[in-house]
């Protein structure tokens, strides 16, 4: 019986197949797969979003300076760096000690210097295609609608959350954003979509 069961298994012909087979066998004991929603750990915001930010989406955090956009982004990065990698496209204004205070594991946070819109677009493209990062954060750059569409598509394929921080979304960004959150000083957040 056991022999018959063993013979019914497909033959393993390569290391990759052996690895995949081993992974399948061990899957029940492995960590559960990531939830489809990434919680911000801010109860009111998570409730408004139906549980959290959906993975595989382009989301915008909109609002003026000091409205708390980066505080929310830091919480999402903290969640992401618990099990995976996070990435920030930095224009030189990042202050890492505050990220640590927000719970971000810096050893799992990729900081990519990107000063021009072209570099921002290309770096975000590479990060999303790699499927290595659970969250990619970037401050909005004046990019064309086609580029935003491409980045949103890549986020969908890779299952990563692409978080764009912006004062006010331009129409081309609004068109592709799956989630829009507006942060207002002293008033909290408003989910627009």
């Amino acid at each position: 019986m056991a022999l018959a069961a063993a013979l019914s298994q497909p033959l393993i012909t390569s290391k990759r197949e052996a690895f995949e087979a081993l992974r399948e066998r061990l899957r029940p004991t492995a960590m559960p797969p990531a939830a489809p929603l990434l919680s911000s750990a801010i109860p009111g915001l998570d409730r408004a979003l139906g549980g959290g930010f959906p993975r595989g989406t382009l989301a915008t955090l909109e609002g003026a300076q000091s409205s708390g956009r980066w505080s929310i982004a830091a919480r999402l990065l903290a969640q992401a760096t618990r099990r995976s990698l996070g990435a920030v496209l930095d224009a030189g204004d990042l202050y890492p000690p505050d990220l640590v205070a927000a719970g971000v594991a810096l050893e799992r946070l990729l900081i990519v210097s990107a000063a021009t819109p072209l570099v921002v677009a290309r770096a975000a493209d590479v990060l999303l295609r790699s499927r290595a990062c659970a969250v990619v954060v970037l401050a909005a750059s004046p990019l064309r609608a086609a580029i935003w569409r491409r980045l949103a598509g890549l986020a969908r394929k890779s299952g990563a959350l692409l978080l764009v921080i912006v004062t006010q979304s331009p129409p081309e960004l609004r068109a592709v954003a799956g989630v829009r959150v507006r942060c207002e000083r002293n008033r909290g957040v408003v989910c627009l979509r």
Binding site: F19, L22, L26, R27, T29, A30, M31, P32, P33, A41, I42, A64, Q65, S66, S67, G68, R69, W70, S71, I72, A73, A74, R75, A78, Q79, R82, R83, S84, L85, D93, L94, Y95, P96, P97, D98, L99, V100, A101, A102, G103, V104, A105, L106, E107, R108, L110, I111, V112, S113, A114, V119, R122, A123, V126, L127, S130, R131, A132, A134, R185
Partner: protein, 428 residues
């Protein structure tokens, strides 16, 4: 592994470099001075000179001679054990501590050389123990009981009896493949084909030796007789052909050469023990192969390697963090995670300071405190936090910092230096 006897001399070599590939070459050169080289870390090595002809002065001169071509500042010292040799270097370049005279040599030097942690060092200072001689005079048993296990090592070092083990560096295995005289490469596709062929041979050799490469060194010979050397660092050591191929491809994409390529040599360097960590147990754990390729692609896109941040205890904001190249070692990461748990997630969001390009601003005071920043009224403020560095900083800072909430609800960090006010950043 061998313990160093007291009488033979050790040379300590301290080089001003953080470049691991260059350091590897310097270590290879040191093989010409002594067959036993202990590679402690990048920039620090010990040479066991037992049985070598000559005396310490000649060994030091010889070491300088072999390291001179690398153009790196090098300091060398000699002593009977590792700590004495290291201290000799720290005291002055070229210092030799003769065997038997360690205790007298070390006695007047400060205990800071022992790299003791801040708290025990402060306790020792309060006890009046500020020199190695004073520390050596303490009764060994009582001192170790009072200060713990590390104190035994401090005491032995202060007495000139460091018993640290000398770990000779293993013989470097050269894994490389090349192709010369098989035609000219003028197009990108041809170059990638040639690279694939050479890389397959290197990867096969890596697998046979049970090694992984931490970096690749590519030498391209051009038709005009010049050579182009390209170093390709890997975020995570690998022997996987596809991963290495993708990394090399990402590094080479967009590169231009003045003429055709007529030969190439690929060498695997910074070899580590073989085996590859693959994510089996964690469904969304990070795949180091994909990270390695991503890092190379990002470097090709941005022109500089992606970074990771590190935080430090410091007074000034800008000195509380630094950046280093991003590397990913899942196995080390897991160990580190056990030893140092993840930072706890605070219950409420933490305001994030965004650093702005520092520029002078106009601030009006009322009762000595900021009342207006530009034309915005200050609703409330926190501070001042006085930051004053003196002799211990290269460029001392003396300033008062404030967090200021303006009437439009913007929260900013400003500071006063002398009579002038500056905007440092804004919270978001």
């Amino acid at each position: 592994m061998l313990a160093v006897a007291r009488t033979p001399m050790l040379l300590c070599v301290l080089a001003d470099t953080g470049d691991a590939i260059l350091w590897e070459r310097m270590l290879d050169a040191l093989d010409a001075v002594s067959p036993l080289v202990d590679d402690v870390r990048v920039g620090l090595a010990y040479l066991d000179m037992r049985g070598m002809p000559g005396d310490a002065r000649r060994w030091i001169a010889r070491t300088r001679e072999v390291l001179m071509p690398y153009g790196v500042g090098v300091r060398i010292g000699a002593g009977a054990d590792k700590f004495t040799a290291y201290t000799a270097v720290r005291v002055r370049d070229g210092t030799i501590c003769a065997a038997g005279g360690e205790r007298d040599f070390l006695a007047p030097l400060p205990i800071d050389l022992l790299e003791i942690e801040e708290r025990p060092r402060e306790r020792l200072r309060l006890l009046g123990v500020t020199t190695l001689g004073a520390l050596a005079r303490l009764p060994h048993g009582a001192f170790v009981r009072r200060f713990g296990r590390d104190a035994a090592r401090w005491h032995a070092c202060a007495c000139g009896e460091d018993r640290s083990v000398f770990l000779p560096r293993a013989h470097a295995v050269a894994i490389e493949a090349s192709t010369f005289g098989e035609g000219r490469v003028e197009e990108e596709a041809q170059l990638f084909f040639a690279l694939r062929v050479v890389l397959a041979r290197v990867c096969a050799d890596l697998e046979r030796c049970g090694k992984r490469a931490g970096a690749l060194e590519l030498l391209l010979e051009l038709e005009d007789g010049t050579n182009r050397r390209i170093e390709i660092a890997l975020a995570s050591p690998s022997a996987h052909e596809k991963t290495l191929g993708d990394v090399v491809r990402a590094k080479m994409t967009g590169g231009t050469f003045p003429c055709a390529i007529v030969g190439l040599r690929l060498r695997a360097v910074r070899l580590e023990e073989g085996g590859e960590t693959l994510p089996i147990f964690a469904a969304d754990d990070v795949d180091p192969r994909s990270v390695a390729v991503t890092l190379a692609r990002l470097e090709a896109v941005t022109g500089e390697p992606p970074r990771r941040a590190r935080t430090h205890a410091a007074h000034a904001l800008e000195r509380r963090f630094s950046y280093e190249s991003f590397s990913f070692h899942p196995e080390r990461g897991r160990k580190a995670a056990v030893e140092r748990p993840m930072p706890a997630m605070p219950e409420t969001p933490v305001p994030q300071l965004r650093l702005l390009a520092v520029h002078e601003i106009e601030v009006r005071l009322r009762g000595g405190a900021p009342a207006f920043v530009g034309d915005r009224a200050v609703r409330s403020y926190a501070g001042p936090w006085r930051i004053e560095e003196a002799w211990f900083a290269d460029t001392p800072i003396a300033r008062d910092e404030y967090d200021v909430l303006l009437d439009d609800d913007t929260l900013v960090r400003i500071y006063r230096q002398g009579r002038h006010w500056y905007l440092r950043g804004a919270y978001d």
